[in-house]
């Protein structure tokens, strides 16, 4: 489904991703954990084309977005191709980034109509279904400033899902929320996991990762240190850094 191979990325000479290689399979939920500044968010941003990598390859469903030329530099497909491939990917941000001038409904339907070319009634139908699933049917005409953080994030998830992406990425989806609102957002993500939605979640919610993820990736200083099932990683980490990180959380 998604293949990331040997990705390198640096900002102003500082390497933030070093030889990152991993894969996400269909129907799988992957949690990416690790200390702040370990490159987790940058990795998601690179996959979603918000940052450009220096070296490596990213392939979505067999479609190459970026590969490395013989001279060792990343070569991207043209913008049009990239936009088409990107529609297979959805990204949910830490701070929602809803469009404040659109109602909840229009936040969800704008891209399906004007990017995917759906009719308004098709887009509305999908939006209503998603709002129902998010428990927000009564909020369709509200504006983002009238929503709580938890509601905003659920609208943002619905907005990303409306384009029917094959993989949904969530970048610390609950980090801007207080514990009570975190629960309602995590509930929605669990629901999606139960429906076999392919997801990659950057998170600091260790219990959530343990409970929902099929696989956990631990990153530190721009590298994937260790990956495995939650059981393996939490109960029997192989690497010293993983062990220290998880010990820190258990205390």
């Amino acid at each position: 489904m998604l293949k990331v191979s040997n990705v390198y990325k640096s900002f102003d000479g500082k390497e933030v991703l070093k030889d990152v290689t991993f894969e996400i399979r269909k129907g799988e939920v992957v949690a990416i954990i690790g200390p702040s500044g370990s490159g987790k968010s940058t990795l998601l941003r690179c996959i979603n084309l918000l940052e450009r990598i220096d070296k490596g390859a990213i392939v979505v469903n067999g479609n190459v977005m970026v590969r490395t030329s013989d001279s060792g530099k990343a070569v991207y497909e043209n913008d049009k191709t990239l936009r088409k491939i990107r529609l297979n990917l959805g990204l949910v941000f830490q701070n929602f980034n809803l469009f404040p001038h659109f109602s909840v409904l229009r936040n969800i339907t704008e891209a399906p109509i004007h990017v995917a070319g759906m009719t308004r009634s098709e887009a509305n139908k999908i939006a209503f279904e998603l709002l129902e699933k998010m428990g927000l049917s009564d909020k369709k005409d509200a504006y983002p400033h009238q929503l709580s953080g938890g509601q905003s994030q659920r609208v943002a998830i619905a907005r990303a899902l409306a384009l029917k992406p094959e993989v949904l990425f969530l970048d610390e989806p609950t980090s801007a929320l207080d514990p009570e609102l975190t629960i309602e957002v995590l509930k929605v993500i669990k629901k999606l996991a139960a429906e076999k939605m392919t997801m990659a979640v950057v998170t600091h919610e260790m219990n959530f990762a343990k409970e929902v993820a099929d696989r956990i990736i631990f990153m530190d200083r721009g590298q994937i240190i260790e990956e495995g099932t939650p059981k393996m990683l939490f109960e029997n980490p192989l690497n010293e850094r993983t062990r220290a990180f998880i010990r820190g959380f258990n205390n």
Binding site: N48, L50, L87, P100, H114, V115, Y143
Partner: protein, 210 residues
């Protein structure tokens, strides 16, 4: 009564300059703003210099310059009214562009990122996501400029156009009283009161979101 009619005629000239200036400077200002934010130095530099000159020299001088420079440089005679409009448009587009630029730069980067992730093109992102939010944010400073423009129209008399204030001055010396000037002041005030009303209602209409 004839005083009133003559002042009204002067006001029509002022209003003509006002509306034509807005008609051209509002869109031109946007192009200038986009150019001044361009990544290409070849576009950005000259535009920055243009803004610097327009904001750095008196409008009254620019009026005189636009009227006479084409004649001395190229032998072209510009009609007074056309020259006045060109000078006003160039001057106001520079001020507007800075307001637009501030508005565009105040839109959080997250809005662009969300749009990009949803597959919007740059064009769609600007017109569907960014511009509507910019309009709301810049209404107060734009209303400032528009109000100033109403009063600045009085400057066109230096190139020999009889607008409201010029007519009032002529009347004042004819009847040997300052009353026509004060009445002209009331005219300006009423026009700006209307401008304020219009902007207020636009702000109100956009207050459905934050």
């Amino acid at each position: 009564m004839s005083l009133f009619i003559r002042l009204c005629q002067g006001m029509l000239v002022s209003l003509e300059i006002f509306f034509l200036t807005l008609l051209f400077s509002l869109p031109l200002g946007m192009l200038v703003a986009l150019g001044s934010m361009s990544g290409k130095k070849l576009i950005k530099k000259p535009i920055r210099i243009y803004i610097l000159i327009m904001r750095g020299t008196p409008l009254i001088l620019q009026l005189v310059f636009v009227l006479y420079a084409p004649f001395y440089l190229f032998g072209i005679n510009l009609n007074r009214f056309t020259a006045a409009i060109i000078a006003f448009v160039l001057n106001y587009a520079a001020y507007m562009s800075e307001i637009y630029r501030a508005g565009i730069e105040s839109i959080p980067i997250g809005q662009y990122e969300a749009a990009s992730v949803l597959g919007f093109t740059k064009f769609q992102t600007f017109f569907r996501i960014v511009l509507p939010q910019v309009v709301k944010r810049i209404l107060p400073p734009v209303s400032n400029e528009v109000i100033t423009l109403i009063k600045d129209t009085a400057l066109v008399q230096v190139v020999g156009i009889s607008e409201l204030f010029r007519v009032a001055q002529n009347e004042a010396s004819r009847v040997f009283s300052t009353n026509p000037l004060f009445i002209a002041g009331i005219f300006y005030f009423v026009m700006n009161w209307l401008v304020t009303k219009v902007f207020h209602s636009m702000e109100e209409r956009l207050s459905y979101y934050r």
